[in-house]
Every structure is written in C-alpha cells, then in structure tokens.
C-alpha cells in the first residue's frame, strides 16, 4: 500500500486544489481496484446500494455524464439524470431553487456540471449531500485530472519527475487547471504551450513553465496533453484562423518526433481532428485517448466510493 491516508477529509470533491498528495494517491489506488470490476462478467459491486446520486448537468457533456452514470450503476447506486434543457431552469428557476427542490428528495450525492465557476462550492456550502464537481466553467474538473493521472501512472509507473506538456487553449480550460494542481502536488514537471492570447495572466505562479512554441514544448516530453480548441471562440481575437492554429500548434506525427521515445499522447475530448491534433496522432500508437475514457469510470467509482464513506481495503 502506497498510501498514508485511508479516507478523504472533505464531504465534497470541488477541485484538486484542496486535495493533499496523500488523498490523490488514495483515490488513484482505490481506482486500481475498481478497474478490475469493470473487466468482470458481472460488472457490479454493492458499495452504494440504496444511495441516490443526482447527476445535475447544466451544460452539455457526453463523456463525463456517461462515465459518472456508469460508475454509479457499477456501484449499485440509484441514479437520476437532470439536464438543464427540458427542466424548470428553462423557465428561469435559479440554481439554488433547483437544487433546494432536488434536495427535498434526499439525494446522498450530487454530481454537478455547470458553466459558471464556483457553482459546485455554492451547493456544497449549503447542502448536506456530497457534491462532486464535474466541471465548473474554466475553474476545475477534478475527476478529469484524476483519470489523466491514473492513465499516466499506469503507463509510466509514476508521476514524480514526469515531464508533462499541455498544449492549446490554456485560458479557457478547466482541465488544465485541475491537471496543473494535481501534477504539481505529485511533483511532475508541467510545461504549458499555446499562443499568448490563450495564456491566462500570471499562470507561471502555479509552478509551471510557459512556452509559445509547440516544438519547444514537445522537446523532452514524457506526456503530451492536447486541449480542445473551443471552436465557438473563433473570431474572438484569440487567433486568426483554424488553419493558422493547426500550422502553429497542431500535433502531427512529424512534430511528435521531438518528444521522448514512448511518449504518451492524451486528449480530454471532445477532439477536433485536424485542428489541435492530426488523426494520425489521435489514432496512432502513442495515443491513450480511449484508455483515458475507460479509466474515467474506475476513477469516478473511486471518488463516489470514498466520498460515500468508503475506505481503501487494507
């Protein structure tokens, strides 16, 4: 056992920023056990039997929503999916009223995805239920960073000292913030690359290196994490065209040769093929993009289990 901790301190998972390295290790170790469950013929354990989990998705999501739901079902929880469209949110109900009404039905956990930073904290501060942040604006997406770390650890056997380069729209990415917190806490080296227009203010203070050249970022990288170009932001002065973006920061097989032998290529999805990443890379031998998705279920099972009061079996 690598851990020195056997439970999480908080009732909620709002972000990576507040976690300790021991807690991160605990979640990753617990997820290892749950990954095995997903490979059995009967993919179910009774850990969350009788518990109600509400998946409150106020913003579009495929991967994260489906992954949470599968994780909940494999833990035998009762699940309820709530999407903003088709609900009273469209009639102008506030988030707090929506959640107060859902709470009146006594859920044990709420998984929330929302476009506004801080909304999971707003719920966590006023609700007895455990709140799991499934992405809040450009703030945090903790389970994504955990599944990324799980995948890196599985591939490279460690996190400490690993050189991770994250490339693309840093400014608007919640994935990158959670990943920076996690990787720095676990003593990995983080390089960010992208045009200065997509680099948020004073990001170096988070303990990362910032470069504006893809080649420079790839040099010596063990892991390359590509971020989605938010196509809806095109024309908002951040970069001139998708064509120019691809030519400057798009990951192609030729450029990837600068990275270390056996480099691990990741992408949180959804991908824009031919914009930030060439299909030859996304579907190529170094890509672990679909493994990330598989690992997402195990990591989310671990988070749900630990927040419900579960402990890592000795």
């Amino acid at each position: 056992m690598r851990t020195t901790t056997s439970a999480l301190r908080s009732k909620d998972l709002l972000g990576i920023e507040a976690l300790t390295p021991e807690e991160i290790t605990l979640i990753l170790d617990t997820a290892e056990g749950f990954k095995e469950v997903s490979e059995r013929p009967v993919k179910k354990v009774p850990a969350l039997r009788g518990q109600l989990v509400i998946n409150l998705f106020m913003e579009a999501s495929t991967r994260t929503r489906v992954s949470f739901e599968i994780a909940e079902k494999r833990l035998s929880a009762d699940t309820l999916n709530f999407a903003a469209s088709g609900s009273s949110v469209e009639k102008g109900e506030t988030l707090i009223d929506t959640v107060d009404n859902l709470m009146a039905m006594h859920p044990d956990m709420i998984v929330i995805r929302h476009k506004h930073p801080g909304s999971p904290k707003m719920l966590a501060d006023r609700l007895p239920a455990s709140v799991i942040n499934a992405g809040d604006g450009a703030h945090e997406h903790p389970t994504q960073a955990l599944l990324d770390a799980f995948t890196i650890r599985e591939r490279l056997g460690r996190l400490q000292g690993v050189n991770v380069s994250i490339i693309g729209d840093i400014a608007h990415s919640r994935v990158v913030r959670s990943n920076i917190h996690l990787l720095r806490k676990m003593k990995a080296n983080v390089t960010l690359a992208g045009p200065p227009t997509l680099m948020p203010a004073e990001v170096e203070r988070l303990g990362v290196r910032v470069v504006h050249s893809l080649d420079e970022a790839l040099e010596g990288a063990d892991v390359v994490m590509m971020l989605r170009v938010q196509l809806e932001r095109q024309g908002k002065l951040s970069f001139p065209s998708l064509r120019e973006y691809y030519n400057t920061f798009g990951l192609t097989p030729e450029r990837l040769r600068r990275a270390k032998e056996g480099v691990v290529v990741m992408h949180p999805g959804p991908m824009n093929r031919g914009v930030e990443i060439a299909s030859d890379v996304a579907d190529g031998p170094y890509s672990v993009i679909l493994e990330q998705v598989t690992n997402g279920v195990a990591v989310r099972m671990a988070v749900l289990y630990l927040l419900s009061g579960g402990h890592l079996a000795e």
Binding site: P117, G118, M122, H139, A201, E202
Partner: protein, 438 residues
C-alpha cells in the same frame, strides 16, 4: 436647530484644528468653536469622542426612481446618517436616469420630504446614459446637480467626453468619470491576474481603467475642464493622475473603502458580495492606493454604495450584479485599514471623508468654521465591533460582514439636528418623525 456639542476632540482639517473644544450650532449653522461655550441649546456631551465636520459621500447609488426594491432615497439616506454621512451625491443611473430636470427635481423633492441627510444629485453626461448626445447639463445644474456622470458605464466616445469637459467648465462642475474600456474585459467579473487564472473567471485587466484615465487627463488638459476619476482602483491610473497634476491639469479622484481594504485574493470564496466594478484588485494596486492616500494624491474616500436585492446576489458569481453597499461601514473600514494600519493619521482621514469631498465638488460643509452649515459627525475611535448582516440600508450586500473593525459613528448632526444618535440617553430614535418607506 440648535445644538451645543461639548468636550469632544474637535478635528477640522479645513482649519488645521485638533483640540478639545465645544461646537455651537444655532439655526442650522455653526456659530462658534471654542472652550467652555454657553448657550440656550440642547447639549451633546462628546467627552471622549471625536467631533468632525459631517462626512460627504461623493458616490452613492440611491436607486430611486425606478429600483426601489434595492434602495430608496429614504432608506439610503438613513444608511448614510448611520454611517456618519451628512450629505450624499446621488448617482444618475436610476430608471429613468437623471438626465433631465424633472428627475433632478423629483430626487430633491423626495429627499426634502423623506431624506435623512442632504442629497446632491449628479446629472447624466449623456441623454439616456447612451454616450451619444450631451444631456441638458446647464438645466440640470440649474436644477441642483453638482456634477455630471454616466457612472455605471464609461463615456466611450472621446469627442463626447471632450465636449462634456468643455461644456461643464462653463458651469464650474466636474465630469465624474467611470473609467473602464469593457472591450478589454471579455465578460470579465473580477480583476485579471493570478486569482482570475486560478478561479477560471473572466478578468477585468487594470489596463481597462488605466487606458481611459490616461485619455481623460489628456482631454481635461486640452479643455481646461475638471475631470473627477470615480472609484480609482489601479496603480497606473494613480500614476497618470499624479503626472497630470504636476502639469496643472484639473483632475481629482476618489477611492472606495473596499479597494483600500480588500484584494482579489478574497474572491476565492466566490462570495458575490466581493463582486463589484471596478473589481477588487491585486495587492500591488492596493499598496499603490495606500501610498496615494498618504501622499495626498487621493482627494476623497467615496463609498460607491451600490445596493442590490438579496435575490439578485444569491446566484452564481458570474450572474450576480456588480456592486456592494458601503455607507454604514466606510468609517470603520477606513479607520481600521488607514489609521490603525498607520498609513495616515486621523485628521487626514477626516479630510478624506469630509473636507476633501466638499472641496472637489465645491459643496457646502466640510468645515466647522463659523457660518458653515451645522453638519457634524461624532465618532468613537476606541469602540471595536463585528460587522453583522443587519444594516439600515435595504440591502445587505457588504463584503465586510464578519469582520471585526475599530471605529463607530456615535451620532450624526445635519443642520444642527440629530439625525442619528446611538447614545443610551437617546430615549427615542432620532428620526422618529421620519418613518422610512420600506
């Protein structure tokens, strides 16, 4: 109204006064400050207290007409006297805005009928606050407006700003500038810096303010007009003002209590009571403000009292309206962060709250000289207490709830009449005849 205030430490920076004296007010005006005064007037024993010329707020949103669910002239002026203010300048961004005489007259009539302190309306710079055509500034001035401002938004059109400065120079009133180039903000909700990066929130860069301050001091120079920079929050803005002053440009400025006390670091709580515009800045900007207060660059502290209804603020940070209340906490916040923090001494703070504001907008008061209006604020600078969510204002959107602060307003005298009195001996509320409309 007559009142004899005895035995207090009278601090009047307008005449470099700081000693234990009595103040006699008769028929609403100061008659004399001196030792052992005798008069046939009610006596206020101010022993152990500080007696200052009444505070004047250069920047208050009273919300009436049009947004009475947030605040009214009655409740806002009660909050003002509770905070030691004997006069407030009422911003023009009401609904409808104060861009014509009829609105100014309505505000003044309601203030006379139900107000607890003096109200000086600010007229709009442009019709409908649209930034297109000048409002009838001479008529607004004649009706009682003491300045012109589209506050809440900047005057984007440089030519309109130039014309406004030229035109108001004829009237002898300032243009009060809300400096913000929102093109630089991209939906920003907090200061752009390390904490906006950490929290993933849209940023409002310091440059958003600094670029327009730089433009407007240039326009003030070429027009000879008086520009007053509202709620100054950036080091670059301060530097531009210092430079312009050295060149003899007529530029004055105010800072808010929250910008001198708080920084963007606090926004990590996601409390919507920390959301205002301009936003709480980074520590280096706060330090620059403190330095500018100490060296005299800042003319006054103004609250930018911006009441909002509980429901409006009880939403996600991104969705909450900008603005915080400030009238009732201004003195204690400033005393704690400036005097107790040894940035300035108490007389300079009184200057920033009273004399400076009177000077820059050319208002009555700000002094206890014989013949001045009988507006006095009486303070206890020993008293220490917690800020609770209970306010006289209709609103409670204060960023200071929960803080322990030193400095308390004991009583507020407007024209010789006690409009706020917290003494135990005050048997009845000072405003018993003036019930606010809630």
């Amino acid at each position: 109204m007559n009142l004899l205030i005895t035995g207090g430490r009278v601090i009047d920076p307008s005449q470099d006064l700081d000693s234990k004296l009595d103040v006699l007010i008769e028929d609403g005006s100061v008659v004399e400050t001196g030792r052992n005064l005798k008069a046939d007037a009610p006596v206020f024993d101010a022993t152990g207290l500080v007696v200052a010329p009444g505070f004047i707020d250069l920047h208050t949103h009273l919300r009436e007409p049009g947004q009475e669910h947030k605040e009214t002239i009655a409740t806002g002026t009660r909050a003002a006297v509770a905070g030691g203010y004997t006069a407030v300048c009422a911003m023009a961004n009401t609904v409808p805005p104060n861009d014509e005489r009829a609105v100014t007259e309505m505000v003044l009539a309601e203030a006379a009928r139900n107000g607890a302190c003096r109200v000086y309306p600010i007229g709009a710079v442009s019709k409908g606050l649209k930034g297109e055509a000048l409002a009838e500034l001479a008529d607004l001035h004649a009706a009682g407006c003491v300045g012109a401002s589209d506050d809440g938004r900047p005057v984007y059109n440089a030519q309109l700003m130039r014309r406004a400065l030229e035109y108001t120079s004829m009237l002898g009133i300032p243009v009060i500038a809300h400096e913000e180039d929102a093109n630089l903000n991209e939906g920003g909700v907090m200061h752009e810096g390390f904490y906006s990066t950490l929290l993933g929130m849209g940023g409002i860069p310091a440059a958003s303010e600094e670029t327009l301050v730089a433009r407007d001091v240039i326009l003030a120079r070429i027009t000879g007009g008086h520009v007053h920079i509202a709620h100054l929050s950036t080091a670059g803005g301060i530097e531009a003002i210092r430079r312009a002053r050295r060149d003899g440009v007529k530029v004055t400025c105010e800072v808010t209590p929250h910008h001198l006390a708080l920084t963007d670091e606090a926004v990590q709580s996601f409390s919507t009571n920390l959301k205002m515009n301009p936003p709480l800045r980074a520590e280096e900007h706060r330090r620059a403000i403190l330095e500018a207060i100490a060296d005299g660059t800042i003319d006054g502290i103004a609250t930018d009292h911006a009441p909002h209804h509980f429901d409006e603020k009880n939403v996600e940070f991104d969705l909450a309206p900008f603005g915080v209340i400030g009238l009732e906490t201004a003195f204690a916040v400033a005393y704690e962060n400036l005097v107790r923090a040894k940035v300035i001494k108490l007389p300079r703070l009184i200057d920033l709250l009273s004399c400076g504001p009177a000077r820059v907008f050319n208002l009555p008061g700000g002094t206890l000289r014989a013949g001045a209006i009988g507006d006095v604020t009486i303070l206890d600078v020993e008293s220490r207490g917690d800020v609770t969510a209970s306010f006289v204002s209709k609103a409670a959107n204060s960023p200071f709830i929960g803080q322990t602060l030193t400095g308390r307003v004991v009583a507020t005298v407007v024209g010789g009449e006690l409009r706020h009195d917290t003494r135990e001996s005050a048997s009845e509320p000072a405003l018993r005849k003036r019930k606010p409309r809630k």
